[in-house]
Each structure stands twice: as C-alpha cells, then as structure tokens.
C-alpha cells in the first residue's frame, strides 16, 4: 500500500524532527497533562461504580443493567456466568438468530486493551440455536469489579473514534484502579449472601395436564387421535406422573454466594504497583448451577528515566462454570434426541433417580482462561507526548463433558471443545500540545496501530463409548468410542486490522471546546480494493455559564453537539472474499455431511447463501445534541437527543429458488435509531439527605432501507419491512374461534370457504383476520405488532443519607416492550409436539407447571392443519413492561468508631444488600426481562431470585 508508506514516512520524519527538538527543550519540570476531552457527556455515560462494588453479580452486563441511560442489558437467563449483552442506543440491526447479537454489542476496553470477544463462528457447527458451543461464559467474568475505578460508556462518534471501527456499537471504557506510589495501601472487600429459591412455582402433575387436555380431546379428537393419547398421562394410578408435583424442591435450591477481594498498592516514585486478587462464587437457584471466578490483576509503573514511564498491566481470570442440566441443552449438545415418550416425573421421589444418575455418572466442565496484558512506554515532555504500547489478549473457553448411557437410552456421549482467541496489537501515539497563551489550549494527536486476531476451535464428539467408565475419546488401535461415531471439527478465523488516526482537541477561553478526529482503518475481512474506510467525527461543547455569566442560579450550563461516522467490520470473513466454496451438502437433521462416498466435497454455499464480489463497509452515522446543567446547588440535569443511522449493512436477500441458493448477501440495509437520554438528579435535606435520581432512555428504531431497494424481506418467520421497526413481531391477528364450519366466511365469488394458506378453515380453527379480504389467510394478513426493545427504559433510584448511614434503592423499568410467550404457545400446541421426535417434543421438568391465565386462551382444535397454536399470532403477544426494585443497599461508614480511628484504618464500611425484591408487570410469563434475542420467551430462562448479602469494605 503506497498510502501506508507515505504515512509511515511522514511519521518517521516527524519523529526525527521531534526528537531533535526534544533534546533542546528544558523538560525537568514537565508534568503530564490530561487530554482535554470534555466534549463527552459524562453524566449520561457513567454508572455509579462505587455502588456496583457492593452488588452480587459476576458479569458486567448484569451489573450495568439500568445504570446508564441509553444502555440496555439483554439476557436470556439469570443463570450465573451466562452471557448477557449490552446494547448501546438501541438495536442497530436485525436479530434473527442468536449469533446475530454478537455483532451488535459494544466493545469492552480495559485500560486501553480492547478485549477480544467471544466469536459467533463456532455456531456454524451446531444444528440448534439454543446455546453457544463451548463454555458459554460471559467474557466480562474476567474483570473484577473491585479492581475497577470507573466505567464509562462511550456512544458518540468523536468519543468512539479513539477505539476505531471496533467501537461502532459503543465502547465500554473500563479504567482500573491505578497504582500510586507511597505507603502500602490495602483494600479489602468481602461479602457473603444467599439466594432464596422461589416458593411461588405453581407446579402441576399428570392430572393437571390431563385435565388441561381433556376438553380438547372431548371437543375435537378423532378416534385415531384419541388412541394416541400419551401413555404417561393415560394411567391416573401411575404415581410417577400422578403423584404430588414437588419437583421444584429438587430443581431449585437455596444458593449461597460470596466474594473475597483484596488489593495492595504502593511503592517508590520510581517503581510502584498495585496487585489485586479476587474470588467470586455465585451460585444459581437452579440445581448445581453456579460460577466460580478467580481474578488477578497487576499494575506496575516504572520511571526508569525522567519523563519516561513504563506501565505494565496484566489481568488474569479463570472461570469455572457449572451449568444447567436442561434436557434441551443436553440434546442440543449431543445432537441426538433419545426417546421422548416418557418425560421426567414431576414427583421428586422419582425425579431424584434421574438426577442421581445424572450427577453420579456425567460431568460437564466449563472453564475459561483469560489473559490481558499490556506494556506501555510513554515519554512525556513539555509539549510532546510519545507513547508506544504492545498488548496481548488471550482467551480460551473449554467444555469437556460426558453423558452416561443411563440417561441416554443406552448411548453415552462425550465431547470436548476448546476455543482459542488471541489478539496482539501495537499502538503508537504522538501528541503535541503547543503553548498558545492563556485563552487557547490545543492538543494534536496522531496514532497508528495494527491488531492481529487469531481464532480457532477444536471440537470432537463421540457416541457409544465402550462403557461409562471410559469417559474420554481415545483413538489408537483400540479406540474407546466406536468407529463411525466420532466426529471432529476444526476451524480458524483470522483478522488483521490496521489503523491510522488523527485527533485535535481545542479549547478557547474555557467556553468553546472542539474535538475533531479522523481515522482510516483497513480490515482484512474485505477484498482488495475495499480494505479501507475513513471515519470522521466532530464534537463541540459550549459553556454557557461562562459565556453568559449565569451566576449562582446555574452551577453549570453546557451545550454539546457531536456528529460523525464510524465504519463497521463484518463479524466474519464470509462476505469479503467474493464467491466462496465451502462444504454445504447437508440437509435438515444432518447439516454437516462432509463427503459423498468418502470423497471430499466443495460447493457454493447454497444453504448459507451466496456472496458476490464487491461487498463493502457498513457504517453508522450519528448526530447528538444535548445539554448538561446544574440548577442551583441541588439539581443536576443532563439530556441528549441522538439520531443514529446504521447504513449499508449486509443483509440476506432472498433470491429465486431456481438458482439453488437460499439467499444472497448484499449491502444496503439501514436502520435508524432515534432517542433521548436523560439523567435528572437532585437532593433534598441537609442532615437527613434524600437524593432521587431518574435515568431515562426513550428509543425508537426503524428500517429505512433494504438492499436492492426492496421494500421487505421475509426470512425465518420474521419480516423486515421498510418503515417498520427492526424488532417488530409479524403476526396473525386473533379474533376468537370459529364455532362451526358454517361460521367460516363464504366467498360469494367462487362459493368457497375462507382458507388458511389454501387449507379450508373449519370448526375449531382460529378466527384470524383476513386483513386484505381475499378469503385466504396468509402472510399478506400478518401485521407488525409489538417490539422486543423497550420504547422507554431506565431507572428511578433513590439515596438516603443520615450521618454515617446511607441507603440506596436501585430500580429498573421499561415501558413499550413486548414478548411472545412461546412457552404457553408450546403448551397449547401439545398435539403437534407430543408426537414430534424432534427438539420441539422435549419436555423439560418445568413442563410441570400450571399455565398462567389458561382461561384467557380460546379452545382451538389443536390437531387442525392450520396449526392454531403457532406462536406468531397476537394471541401470544404480551406486554412486557415492568418496574423492578432491583437492589436495596444499606451501608454504614464506621469511620467515626473509636477503634477504627485508633487502628488507623483509612476507611471501613459495612453493608447489606437485598436484590430482586419486587417486580410489577402485566407479563404472565416468568420474567419480562428474560427472552431469547429475538423476543421469544420459551420459558427456559431461570428467573431472578431474591438474594441477600452482607459485606465489609476496608481500606488500610
């Protein structure tokens, strides 16, 4: 690249010039100055980290939930350690499968290290989209909140610019506690607590289920259908299914949790350090679930020469997750579904047999290891700042499991997954800050960097091992697993990213502030000719308090605005190489057949979809205006309006089936997010102080363009339509039930009754609205209703202070949020599911619960060919607004106690927390916050449990 050469020559020349000047300078009194970057909305971007130290949670998305306006946490379960996702300023693109969410979530940056995220590409080797292959542990478990000084969520292009295209969906900037020279300081934070298992589970047994189904059989069943009545429900004397339904006593557990953290820092002016250690054990209420986490962090600063600072930091993490033992997840992992005719017993006496077999013989080890390290050398002079850093980031996730013959129809299963993600990167930065007099501050920064990501995974699975005593897959002359049942998978994904950037910060008279940045980045995911993308941005702030001399009525008053563009890299290398060949000749139920007659195969990706030449960069254009002001002494208000356009994203476009492809990938999808973020805080009282604080995020999204100028794309049961929301459900509208065949509308034109996709509608079928009046209910009669992402979300938090006591009430709310209660739909769809030998026929132990609001659902003919209880209809759409009291936190500062003073303790606080105390919601399912990423609540999410903890924070 000639372009690169020019830039490099420029930098080298600049460098020589600089070093020449440096030598001439008198630099003995120079102190490093902070970069001016006051164009960011701090009050809208930062969570209260000091409170997060007290809260029991092991992942950052869980901790940040409802703490920052504009940042939403998406969760499918409360199982400890399971990934949760942050969304910054709404949903930037469509989510039609789980892996889609991976490319819409923010980048975590820890002290300048952009963490390498889990990648979605191993999803490709699994048939089922319920869980991620491997340990499926949240990446942020590598971070110990106790080592964190502050968190800031960057949203605007000028703020993101420093982190490049990887930050297009926002940047969660984490600054760890820095070492400081001087006396040794010790910091300790401990807590222990308990989660209380739910006692309000409305369990059910075979009698309930039979009574539930009987009216359907009475009304609609044919003789043959009657004869197929499931055997496990047929015999009411069978204690296995008709005994007391007390499975919840085994399935849910009271769980304890603890966190032990200690850190020491100190050292001389020339060399100083901070060392932090932490262990968190978070158990879940579902039996045997939990996560055990160990963290080590070390920060070392050295000043070997004047002006030269060398800082080294290392974060180590080890996570051991014990995960759920759900049938569905087991079958999905082994991709083998045993006989489903006898579900688990709702009675704990029988259920315990199953669990003891499971616990006795199987194992399921899920471990993650993390390493993030950086060495940075900074040379600081009066006007010049030079720094160079090298970082490494390593993450492996492992799952090693074995399922015995006893629970698997006599076939055991073993698998081992190891996924490795490695990142190494260089970054060099040079900045110049001339003296321009008292009124002007200018800082110019140039940076260049390169990043190498290397990922791979190895997966091996085997069925029918010799016995339950040999739990590993061993090859050789006497293999432990039968020939023909051992399958190996391996894949690699490499990505290089090169970036050059420049930034100017300018402040005039303490009133006007400007930040302008431009970066040019090249990604190896694109084909030659499309490598580079330029992202410019600008941000300004205007201090009206100084400008207008507002006096004491306003403690501060600033107006801010920002605008810019940020590029977006694909999440993998499937799009940027033009047409590609791959192994794609599988079919439903056997998607990964590699060969024909032992001969290897390579096809165009007919099932995955065609990619042509010339797919280019997607990008996000953003504009923000906002205001931050303080009214008098007590009120602090910050608000920002944003407009975000994600453009030119790659989307699958259907192609005529006559070309053999399911779809073709093309640029051209655009999604607009608009919204308002606000943080309004105040406080009342003096001795007794009350500080309420309202965090608010109003958001709306819309699809503004589709590839090829299409007005809609239909895929996976959802429709993307221009002008509609990107997360809208696409549903048939229910209007009751047809009481008789005669009640079905008659088309006078041809004398035929109303049809559903061509099938004549009969008695007992749903009265779905025939919106276009063509006497055929089909896709044209579906309407867009509801949305997964809430229109308004936020929190109303309150703090009370009295003497050394403080009490915090942390809440969360959402309004304008909807979910499809798929769990209930599945229960009503028993006629199809009972006979299905596939995943939809799996009955989890939670199947034995009563159906909430059962009466409100009409009684359709479940055997009808129109599939009356399919999930995508308004019948199962529910409002999922909520108001939650997330945490109550009471702390007492012991600084005034005599012995504390005497012991020269710097600070000592005791605290208790109570979590998940109260939820107000119209939603009838488990929890309005839990669903898959498409907004379907399949009932698999483990609900949030009430928990209580007590802790102590100590600084010596």
């Amino acid at each position: 690249m000639c372009e690169k050469k020019i830039i490099s020559v420029f930098f080298i020349v600049l460098f020589i010039a600089v070093t020449g000047r440096l030598a001439a300078q008198d630099s003995s009194t120079v102190k490093p100055q902070a970069v001016i970057k006051d164009t960011a909305f701090r009050r809208l971007n930062s969570p209260p980290v000091d409170l997060l130290h007290y809260l029991p949670a092991s992942t950052l998305p869980a901790l940040l939930d409802a703490k920052v306006p504009g940042v939403t946490t998406l969760r499918k379960s409360s199982e400890p350690g399971i990934p949760a996702w942050l969304l910054v300023r709404g949903l930037h693109g469509p989510v039609s499968k789980q892996s889609d969410i991976y490319s819409l979530t923010p980048l975590y940056v820890v002290d300048g290290i952009p963490l390498i995220q889990n990648h979605a590409f191993p999803f490709g080797i699994k048939q089922y989209d319920y869980e991620r292959i491997g340990s499926e542990t949240d990446i942020t478990t590598m971070l110990n909140i106790n080592d964190i000084e502050s968190i800031e969520v960057l949203k605007d292009p000028a703020d993101i610019a420093a982190y490049g295209v990887q930050g297009v969906d926002g940047v969660v900037l984490i600054r760890s506690r820095k070492p400081s020279p001087g006396k040794y300081r010790i910091h300790v934070n401990l807590y222990g607590g308990v989660l209380v298992r739910p006692h309000d589970i409305k369990t059910a047994n075979g009698r309930y289920e039979r009574d539930f189904r009987k009216p359907f059989y009475d009304a609609y069943a044919t003789q043959q259908q009657l004869s197929m009545f499931p055997a496990y429900l047929a015999d009411s004397s069978n204690a296995v299914y008709y005994g007391p339904a007390n499975w919840d006593e085994l399935y849910y557990q009271n769980a304890w949790q603890h966190s032990v953290n200690a850190a020491i820092s100190g050292g001389s002016e020339r060399a100083y350090f901070r060392l932090g250690l932490g262990n968190v054990r978070e158990n879940g209420i579902m039996r045997n679930t939990g996560v055990d986490r160990y963290n080590v962090s070390a920060n070392i600063g050295m000043v070997p020469f004047d002006h030269l600072t060398i800082t080294t930091q290392i974060q180590l993490g080890l996570t051991d997750r014990t995960r759920n033992t759900l049938l569905r997840e087991r079958f999905a992992e082994q991709e083998y579904i045993p006989t489903l005719t006898a579900p688990l017993s709702p009675n704990k006496d029988y259920l315990s047999n199953y669990y003891s077999l499971l616990d006795r013989w199987s194992f399921d080890k899920n471990q993650d290891h993390f390493l993030a390290g950086m060495i940075k050398a900074a040379y600081q002079l009066k006007h010049w700042n030079l720094s160079s850093s090298f970082l490494m980031n390593y993450h492996d996730n492992n799952r090693d499991l074995y399922f015995p013959t006893t629970i698997n129809d006599g076939n055991n299963f073993a698998s081992y997954f190891i996924g490795l993600d490695k990142r190494s990167a260089w970054k060099n930065e040079i900045s110049y800050k001339p003296e321009l007099g008292a009124d002007m501050v200018l800082q110019l920064t140039g940076a260049a960097g390169a990043q190498w990501d290397r990922r791979k995974y190895d997966y091996i699975k085997g069925y029918r091992g010799g016995s339950d005593f040999v739990k590993i897959i061993a090859g050789g002359s006497t293999p432990s697993f039968q020939e023909g049942t051992v399958f190996g998978f391996k894949d690699y994904l490499n990505h290089n990213l090169v970036s050059f950037s420049g930034r100017a910060n300018f402040m005039l008279k303490n009133r006007y502030e400007f930040t302008a940045a431009v970066s040019r980045e090249g990604s190896s995911y694109f084909q030659n000719g499309y490598w580079w993308f330029t992202s410019p941005s600008l941000a300004t702030a205007w201090d009206l308090k100084n400008e207008l001399d507002l006096g004491s009525a306003f403690s501060s008053f600033k107006i801010r605005a920002g605008i810019g563009r940020t590029g977006r890299v694909f999440d993998n290398d499937s799009y940027g190489y033009g047409p590609v060949y791959t192994v794609d000749n599988g079919y439903n139920g056997a998607p990964f057949i590699p060969s024909y007659g032992s001969m290897p195969t390579l096809t165009l990706p007919f099932n995955r979809g065609y990619t042509g030449w010339g797919i280019g960069w997607a990008y996000a254009d953003q504009a923000t205006v906002g205001v931050e002001f303080g009214l008098g002494e007590r009120w602090n208000i910050a608000a920002a309006y944003y407009l975000r356009n994600d453009k030119n994203m790659v989307a699958p476009v259907p192609v005529p089936t006559e070309y053999g492809f399911t779809k073709a990938y093309k640029n051209g999808l655009a999604v607009k997010n608009t919204g308002l973020e606000a943080n309004i805080g105040t406080s009342f009282g003096n001795g007794f102080k009350w500080s309420p604080n309202l965090l608010l995020h109003w958001n709306n999204n819309q699809i503004t363009a589709l590839p090829d100028g299409l007005s809609s794309i239909t895929a996976d049961g959802r429709r993307l339509q221009k002008g509609q929301r990107v997360d809208a459900y696409w549903l048939l509208q229910n209007d009751g039930v047809y009481e008789s065949d005669a009640a079905v509308p008659l088309n006078a034109a041809n004398g035929q009754r109303l049809t559903y996709y061509g099938v004549t509608v009969k008695k007992g079928d749903p009265r779905w609205q025939d919106a276009n009046g063509d006497f055929n209910v089909d896709d044209n009669d579906r309407v867009f209703r509801g949305n997964m992402y809430p229109k308004i979300s936020g929190a109303f938090n309150q703090s009370f202070y009295y003497k050394n006591w403080s009490l915090n009430l942390l809440t969360a709310f959402a309004w304008g949020k909807y979910l499809i209660n798929e769990a209930v739909a599945n229960r009503f769809d028993f006629a199809n599911r009972e006979v299905s030998g596939s995943m939809s026929g799996v009955k989890e132990i939670t199947f034995w619960t009563q159906i909430p609001d059962r009466e409100k659902y009409p009684q359709y003919n479940p055997w009808s060919l129109v599939q009356p209880y399919q999930r995508d209809q308004t019948l199962f759409l529910e409002k999922a607004d909520f108001l939650k009291l997330k945490s109550v936190l009471l702390s007492y500062d012991m600084k005034d106690l005599g012995w504390v003073k005497k012991a020269k303790i710097v600070s000592m606080k005791a605290y208790i927390t109570a979590n998940n105390l109260l939820t107000v919601t119209p939603y009838t399912g488990r929890d309005p916050e839990l669903s898959n990423y498409m907004g379907y609540d399949d009932g698999y999410g483990v609900p949030f449990a009430r928990s209580f903890s007590i802790g102590l924070q100590l600084d010596l």
Binding site: T341, N494, S574, Y596, T601, G660
Partner: protein, 500 residues
Amino acid sequence: MKPYNILFLFLIVLFTRCGKELDLPSRHQVPENNMWQQRNDARSGVFATYGLMRAALANENAFFAYGELRAGNFKASNRADIGAVTTQQLNANFSTLEEWKDWRRFYAVIAQANLCLQKLPQVLEKDFRYNEQNMKVDMASVRFLRALAYFYIVRIWGDAPLIADAVDGNFSGRSRDPQSKILDFVEQELTAASANLPWNYDGNQPEQIGIYYDQAGSFWLSCIASKAACYALLAHVYAWRGDYAACESNARLVYENTSLGKYTFTTASTLTAETGGVFSALGNGVIFSLTADSRYQESAAKGHLEDWTLSAPLVDKTVPEVYVPADSVLKIFNEPNDQRFAISLAGAVSGGYFQNFTNPVPMFSKIKARTFTQQPLFNNFQSAIVVTRYEDIVLLRAEALYYLNDLNNAMVYLNAVRTRRGLTEFNLQTGGNLLNAILKERQRELLGEGQRWFDLVRNRQAHLYSGLTTDQITRGAALWPLSKNTLANNAAVQQNSYWK
C-alpha cells in the same frame, strides 16, 4: 540506549510490518480465486454434486414424500404434516411441507452441475494430473445428475425454468419452460452423458482406462453414474413421455449388459437384508443409488426412511411415523409363498418386508440399514436412496412391451421377477389384466423406494389409489404446489393451477 531511540525502534517495527497485513487468506473456506486449480478441486466439485443430489432427496425424506406418500400405500400414524400429504392436502402449513414444495435443493444440484461444466476445463489447463479422460467422465457424471434433477422437477412440479448456465451473481427471475422442452434437454443430456461414462469403473473400459480417483472398481459400484444409470434413467424418461419403444430399447441395453454393468437380480433375502443388502451396500443389483455410508460419517439419524418406518425392536420407538396398514398389506401381498411377505392360512407371517404384523401399526421393515445393529439401539441409519435397480428396469421393460403389445415378452420379464420372489408364473388366462399385474409387481417389489406415485401417474391410475378424482388430476392435482419462497422470490413463476 536513549529512551526515544526505543520509541523510534517501535515505530520502525510497526511501519515496516503492516504492508501485507490486509491481504489475509481465509482459512475458513475456499475463495473463487483458489478453487478450480487442481485435480482435487475438480473432484470436490463433482462429488459435491452427488452430495447435493443426496441432500435434495434425503431432506425430510423428500424422495419418499414425492414417490410414495400420495400413492395410498403408506399412512401417517401421528405426524400431521405427513398425514396432510397422504390425504393430498399439500397446502397445509407445515415447515416440512414447505421443504417438500420447494424445488431449491434440486436447483442447487443443477447450479453446482452448471458450475462444474463451466469450470472443469479450466482445471484441465492448470493441473497436468487432471487428464482429458478424467474430465470427460466427470462432466458426464454431472450432466447425468443435472438430468436426474430436472427429471424429478418435471415429474413433481411440471413446467420449470430450464437453467443450464453457471451462476454469475445475477439472480433475475426466470419464467417456466414447458416440460417437453426440459424433457428434450434431459434426453439429450443423458444420451451425451452415456457416451462418456463407462459401464463400470474396473479400469478396463474405453471411457475409463485406469482407476478412477484412486479407487478400485468395486468401490464405485452403483454409487456413481455409469452407462447403465443413463440408460435406465432414459428408459424412465421415455416411459414418462409415453415413448415406450425408446423406453424398451434403453431398458434392453440395461438388460443385456448385466455383466458389464455388474448388476443382476437380487434375492428376496438380499433385498430385505439389514447388512450387505440392496439398501446398505454397493452393488446387489442396484444400478444407481445415493449412498450414505457410516464408515465415511455420511450416515445420519434423519434423511433415511428408517427414521420414519422402523419401530421396536429395531429402534427405540413404539409407533413408527408411517406404516402400511395391515389390510393394505394383505391386498398388496395377496399371493401365497411371496418371499417378501406372505401370510399362511394358519396365520404365520413370513418375509422380510413387515414385522409386528399383528400390531395395530405394523412395521415396514424392508429398508433397515441401521448403522449399529447391536444393543444399545442408536438412531443412525445408512440406507442408500436407490434411484434405480435391475428389477425396476426389468419390470419397466415389461411395462413397455405391454404397451408395445408384445404381451408374451412382457410376461417373460414380469415372470423373471415373480419367480425370483417365490411366486408362480403369470398366466394371461387366469391372471387378469397384464398391465395391472406388472404394476402390482412393481408396487410389491419397489415398495418404499419412491417409485409408486410416478408409476401411477405415468399409467394414469393415480385416481384409483390416491383419493383424488380424475377431474382433480386433469386439473393438475398430481403435481405438487410450489413453495412460498419460490413464489415470493420470482414474480415470473405462478402457482400450479390446481393449487392456486
């Protein structure tokens, strides 16, 4: 060393490195530029066409849905989607029905074949290990597969777009070409392919001298295209078009070259054998089949008929998804001493076609190539999808001779199969209608192999077994409807008239 010198070094290191950083080859898949370079690429492309053909027929047991479910033999026990097909309600809204209604997977075979035909000459230029003979056989193989895919398309959906050029990224909607045009194309392609394919792959055939892709002749038996496969398919194509003279001559070519083609009559026990039988191994009288051998990890739990038809004690399932009701079985196997299935006067059941005959839902156990025959039971099957075998062609020849009014010879070929299955010779005086006897023999012999529905349609007898009226059939009910995707993504294609 001065500190800034260190920095200087850093900068040098960085800027001299990022030159080639962005030109990073994918380790994930093969880009267009790297494909079609060597012999192995040609092989992968050609065998992928076979793999796609297998996928098209195996997906949700499509070959069975097209060839059997509508023909009245089989009933669904509990699956509503299968039940909808057996009762001719093909509009019903099930995901599996959408799969069956979609011709995309056949067109994937065609697209891959078109691509191979365009690109294989390129390999010939680039890799000396790939020779002209090799390329001719490969090209003939993919032409055979493309013709087979079109023949299925015409029989299932009627008119369809005829696409014979390789994909170039332009996906404009094409309108349907008349079936006659497609069948002309199929004939022409099969004739051309037959010229370049060997009778077998023993290395001594003029079309294939020396071994094919490093494997001995027995390795390739019946699992890849051959002369016999082309002639057998041509016989079917001509029969479908009513040109029974041409059908007969092609069937005769198959019949007269058994030693070259290495196929012959099978015994009833080989036909129903669990291992080493017609459906599990190579050869055994099969002319062309799509295999799924567990030794190569091509076997699976799905996409094999066993998944639907077997029940206890062969698999861990009490009721199979599809079955032949006992009274139908008795009607179909109504002659004594049939080695496939017979019931004695004392009620004793013999033959390998059915088990659990006294159960309300008997098990159709003709095809049962379980990967593991020993306990514990494991749902993994490796049955091949038999496209055509010797008995099929012998009986087809009988059918052709009947239409050509050569009844005596028709009887010879009918009896050639009958006597090998333990039945008495057919007698024109006592046996009733000869055509019905031939079709009944086909029904018995080929039960479950995906032929019956096409036999009925070809002989205009579908109304007798399917529940459809002749009027419905004249209005096009014998064709399948097109899928929602096909209709939505190509405005030039209209739904088949009966299903509108």
